[in-house]
Symmetry: C2
Subunit: 738 residues, 2 copies
């Protein structure tokens, strides 16, 4: 099992970025299988083991009983009927076996399935291959949609220096176009190098190491969260620009949209590929129409720019402001990663199709971005607080007719798709991080709709919090946006440079050069954005990224400890046998066996069964019967609050027949859990090689409100004993009729 | 063990109202001991039992290891040193054994002990006997303090009909005096009849049955809560009358006082008896001084009443208003129960001393109440919103000098004591109710300071909520007050009438007559209060009392079910032996033994140990070793998300050596808990006489924040299995180093 990296690689054939439900159960490594084999050879070796266990009292494959199924205790389908005999002989759980037994659980499951649809089997994981004409709109929605707020973000900074500064948007757009092309070329190379998919996390981890990889991942995580928040905010703005009456519902509307996106993705909308095709095309066509009509009109007046409305500058026009405007405009480039993540989803030859698609996308981005910026300049538009620039432009271009509404609707729709892109990318990123042990392992689990439910929920909650905190205000979110994205870009490009340098394939210098240019340009944008927008909000990201990296590293350390504790290795005491049937009691310290928690072979385990008895009743007698029937040494313990009670209890014990050795502990301070736990600890200390099994009868009540009527001493005892090494707790349930 | 009633009785010698820590462990009834004896005779009878268990591998009395104690795993006192060998040979837990092992728990314990003092042993329960001169002030603070707000409560109603109606206070006071004497005489008889203590709950339950007893108890519970709320409110008023600047802190001041009372009672202030003596005497002397000086002054002007300030009536003066004023004045009688509860605390002859003390108390109450009412009339005082009547009176009586301040301070202090009375009474009431199974059993438990912590906390929370809800306004609370008190009085007196009628001792008619008069008068006040103050707040109590009774009955029903489920009776299947060493596998339904949860003798238990294995690692191999070492039939279960994973797992299993029968269940919907639980259910259904022991390795993390990194599948599995009959869950801990 690969522990770090976790990403695919062009040289190893492993489907590094393929998402499988089995990732939760990684196979054993070679050396672990070897250790397993050696452990197996020592298993029950010698005479220390109990005599061969009797045959099973049931048929585990349930075949014998299939003929006459008894109805379930839960009153539903007979439980035996929930399992079918599969092909190679093992049982297969049918769908009803997933429904919880409790009534509440069943109701919740029914509601969830009503909302999200019936469960999907693992076999339904589809690796659908996309044609380029489908892949283009599906993958580009995030990238192209950002032209809906990118030019405005740039102009909103420039206008701070007065309307005279707005003209600077033209040279800035030119620089941004160069940047786009450079980063695009750079990514084209990444696609070729990583045909199994090449997110920044994978590329940076692979080439630069764990920490840069995690930094890229943290940047991407922030980016995904902000993609959702910004796209939803911009989408809501597109709607409220057309329908100002809705403006005061911005926050609830946005939260609703995020909830709908969550529900849709929990349901698993991967099969809806074709549905994703047309909003992107409609958007591109709508913007193209705006451009064509706009330039025709501008041409009619000789491309004479309309002077923008006079706005007096609040700040002086300095280099800092220009750089800030540049960094703000650079957010238009978010979403470029989508293609490089999705290389395996293309039809073969994957890398070539992906590269072509990427080229088209960059081309369209440059045309739309530059075209819009220039047209806005020609029409003399300036940012307004309530109406987006794109909406102003559409209104100027199509003063009458349904066209304006169509542009706004297409904008809102593509922004929704863009947000949805993050819902695909974020859980996948967490999946890869979790597979490498850098994120909680729960992100490996596919829900019953084959969606990574935990990742989806985490993204929605984070995006929802950000959205509400910024009251759904797009321009306030922009300063946070660029830093995460360009951090990931930069690290990914640097990683590619290292990649080429290491291989030194023919032409590596040229390739490394292209990526180096991309890295330098991205890095410049990153530094610019971090500096110029620090106070405006970028500091949040600059603080969050190292914290996320630290968190990932701490998580990784914990999992490594766990893995080391659980890793298989032949037991060092494997040749020590458990003493034969009657062990010499009370061995001296030097004669002792392995400590209780290191006993890994049956013949090593020395038992002492302890039964705490508060009162002699059916529950405690059942516990005693259970303990004795195990055939191991048994000790009963009673905690008495006073001496008289202790005497009384001993009398009753003798009336019963004194079948089990009894130890009474007087607890003059009336505590039960503390003294019992410490007594067990004392037993453990006096014989560390003995495994204590504490048998606790546990009254199970049917109704939730009955619980406060019971002391729940069992739970408290279990918690108190949890920290003790070598203490096993057995809960013997006692079910009440009502 | 007595199941209902629970109170003492003059004829049985049981200390019915003595509070003991052993009440949590009631002794077995005669027939239960008999059943126990018969069960003991069948224990391991025949050849079905495993061969005699080997000797214990440890010394349960810890003697052998006492010489060289090993330091505790928790890094404190060596756990063996925490236990001493007691007198009759059993172990005694020393005080350190009560301290929890976890660091958080230890810190909390240290803080709590700093606030509340070190723990007290059960032997420290003191049954201190009180002299009459001590008993009088200790027991009468509740009763006498109510003159601080009683007359005002009456006048506050009368003034609604204008200042002319205030004169009616004189005849009303006379009627109330008669009522006080009648109820007092009635209670004198109760004291004699119930020398072990005679709360209304006990008397009513004993003579009228469970439901009236619970109604009395509910009335008393409401009464105790309101005693705290009203006394604290009146005490704060006494302070703010003297220092008006504090008036806006009324609510936080009151909450603070309740918190201090709670802390003091959790600490256990029972030894502070002498401290309780002087505030009562000071208060009585201060009021007496007010009365003497006031009457001397009034005498100087020929007892000519000063006309009260003219207030126009808001309501007409009708019978309803007069009755309401009467019912409001009757709240002065709250607290009369204190003596009858506390009979055993008097020096012998208890009943005579208690009766004498009660006589004095009633006498003092009548003198103070009537004296104050008349003097208020003579001085022409009327209720004001910001200053209490008693404060006005003190100011009029002592216009200069420190005397006014002294009166106010003494009033505030005795009101605090009165509130404290409820802190004694309420947990005792709940203790008796819990002993009879009418309240949650946790109220039987004495905390380590010998206080009923749960009862104290419940009272404080309830009183705090009421206090805050009424913004600490005394007069707003009064309408709620009378109903509960007089309900308890009435039921208690009716109970006494029945008591005398049943005995028919000489003179029973006269005694029954006295109690009947008390009952009728109390009943009239009850009805009056309920009707006239219904809308003003009494409805809350009238709704709450039946709900409390219903709750008590439901709790009782649950405990009865529990007791019936746990009661000892010889097993019906006791003569069935467990089949000898190798049972015939897969018995037909008709050959089966007792169902798994009815197996109460070791020879009846048929085992199947089930080990769910997700992955082969040290934890699961330890679980397998543990299972096999028990020497019982063992089955391993693996849940696979896909067929390929299942095949891979089987390969590894065979590499290990296939030492345990393995069943693989493919769960195509990737759920683990559901299919596993249903599979176990299916096993149970296919062989209901087999007890399934599920062994779950449980990773124990040291740090709380590590928990989200683990799936906590064990807990979820345990919850899912809890409802299944015949499934035992064994948690095998795996401790991580960090």
């Amino acid at each position: 099992m690969r522990r770090d990296g976790g990403g695919g690689h062009e040289d190893d054939g492993a489907p590094g970025s393929v998402v499988t439900p089995s990732a939760e159960f990684p196979p054993l490594a070679e050396d672990e299988v070897g250790a397993l084999r050696r452990i197996g050879e020592q298993w029950c070796a010698g005479d220390g083991c109990p005599p061969g266990p009797p045959e099973l009292p049931v048929d585990p494959s349930l075949r014998r009983h299939r003929a006459a199924p008894v109805p379930s205790w839960f009153g539903r389908l007979a439980p035996i009927a929930m399992f079918e005999v599969g092909d190679p002989g093992e049982l297969v759980a049918t769908e009803p076996a997933n429904v919880p037994g409790s009534r509440l659980g069943r109701s919740l499951t029914r509601i969830r399935r009503g909302l999200l649809g019936p469960p999907l089997t693992s076999a339904a994981v589809l690796y659908e291959r996309m044609r380029k004409l489908v892949a283009l709109p599906v993958l580009s929605s995030d990238l192209l949609s950002s032209v809906a707020y990118g030019p405005e973000a740039m102009l909103a900074v420039l206008v701070l220096a007065g309307s005279g500064a707005l003209g600077l948007s033209l040279p800035l757009a030119a620089v941004l176009a160069v940047l786009m092309v450079a980063v695009g070329l750079s990514y084209r190379q990444t696609v070729v190098a990583y045909p199994h998919g090449a997110g920044s996390y994978v590329v940076a981890t692979d080439n630069l190491g764990v920490r840069p990889g995690l930094a890229a991942a943290a940047g991407l995580m922030v980016d995904y969260v902000l993609t959702v928040a910004v796209s939803v905010a911009a989408g809501v703005s597109a709607v409220t620009s057309a329908m100002p009456g809705l403006a005061r519902f911005t926050v609830p509307l946005g939260v609703l949209i995020i909830a709908v996106l969550l529900a849709g993705n929990l349901r698993g909308v991967r099969a809806a590929g074709n549905l994703f095709v047309w909003p992107t095309y409609v958007f591109v066509l709508a913007i193209a129409a705006v451009l064509v009509v706009g330039y025709v009109r501008a041409g009619a007046r000789g491309f004479e720019p309309v002077p923008p409305p006079a706005v007096s500058g609040a700040e002086g026009l300095g280099l800092l402001l220009v750089l800030r405007a540049f960094a703000s405009g650079a957010v238009s480039m978010t979403g470029i990663e989508a293609v490089s993540n999705a290389v395996p989803a293309f039809r073969p030859p994957e890398w070539r199709n992906a590269r072509t698609t990427l080229g088209w996308m960059i081309g369209m981005l440059v045309v739309l971005f530059v075209g819009l910026t220039v047209l806005i300049h020609l029409d003399g538009l300036a940012p307004k607080p309530d109406v987006t620039l794109l909406s102003q432009l559409a209104r100027v271009t199509f003063p009458t007719g349904p066209w304006y509404g169509l542009v706004q609707a297409a904008t809102a729709l593509i922004l929704l798709l863009a947000a949805n892109t993050a819902f695909n990318g974020f859980p996948r990123l967490l999946f890869f991080m979790a597979r490498a042990g850098h994120a909680p392992r729960r992100f490996l689990h596919m829900g019953d709709r084959l969606a990574f439910s935990d990742g989806l929920v985490a993204l929605s909650v984070a995006a929802g919090v950000v959205f509400v905190a910024f009251r759904g205000h797009t321009q306030a979110l922009i300063p946070l946006y660029a830093v995460g994205v360009f951090l990931a870009f930069t690290l990914s490009q640097i990683g590619m440079v290292v990649h080429w340098r290491r291989r030194r394939n023919p032409g590596w210098r040229r390739r490394a050069g292209v990526n180096a240019v991309g890295a330098v340009l991205s890095g410049l944008v990153l530094v610019t954005a971090a500096f110029t927008k620090f106070a405006a909000g970028a500091w949040v990201v600059i603080v969050a990224v190292p914290l996320l990296v630290l968190l990932s590293l701490t998580i990784h350390r914990h999992y490594r400890t766990l893995q080391r504790s659980l890793a298989l290795h032949p037991s060092p005491d494997s040749r020590r046998r458990r003493p034969a049937v009657a062990p010499a009691p009370l061995l001296g310290a030097e004669e002792r066996g392995a400590p209780a928690e290191a006993q890994e072979l049956p013949q090593q385990v020395r038992h002492l069964v302890v039964v705490p008895v508060a009162r002699l009743n059916r529950a405690s007698l059942r516990a005693l019967a259970y303990a004795v029937s195990l055939g191991q040494p048994t000790l009963a313990v009673h905690i008495a609050p006073e001496d008289p009670e202790a005497d009384l209890f001993r009398e009753q014990w003798e009336a019963w027949g004194d079948h089990v050795r009894l130890e009474i502990i007087v607890s003059p301070y009336r505590a039960v859990i503390g003294p019992l736990a410490h007594y067990l600890e004392a037993l453990h200390v006096s014989a560390p090689d003995v495994l204590l099994t504490v048998i606790v009868p546990e009254v199970v009540v049917r109704r939730r409100w009955h619980r406060p009527l019971h002391s729940r001493a069992e739970q408290r005892l279990r918690r108190a004993l949890q920290a003790l090494p070598g203490v096993v707790v057995t809960s013997l349930p006692v079910h009440l009729a009502d």
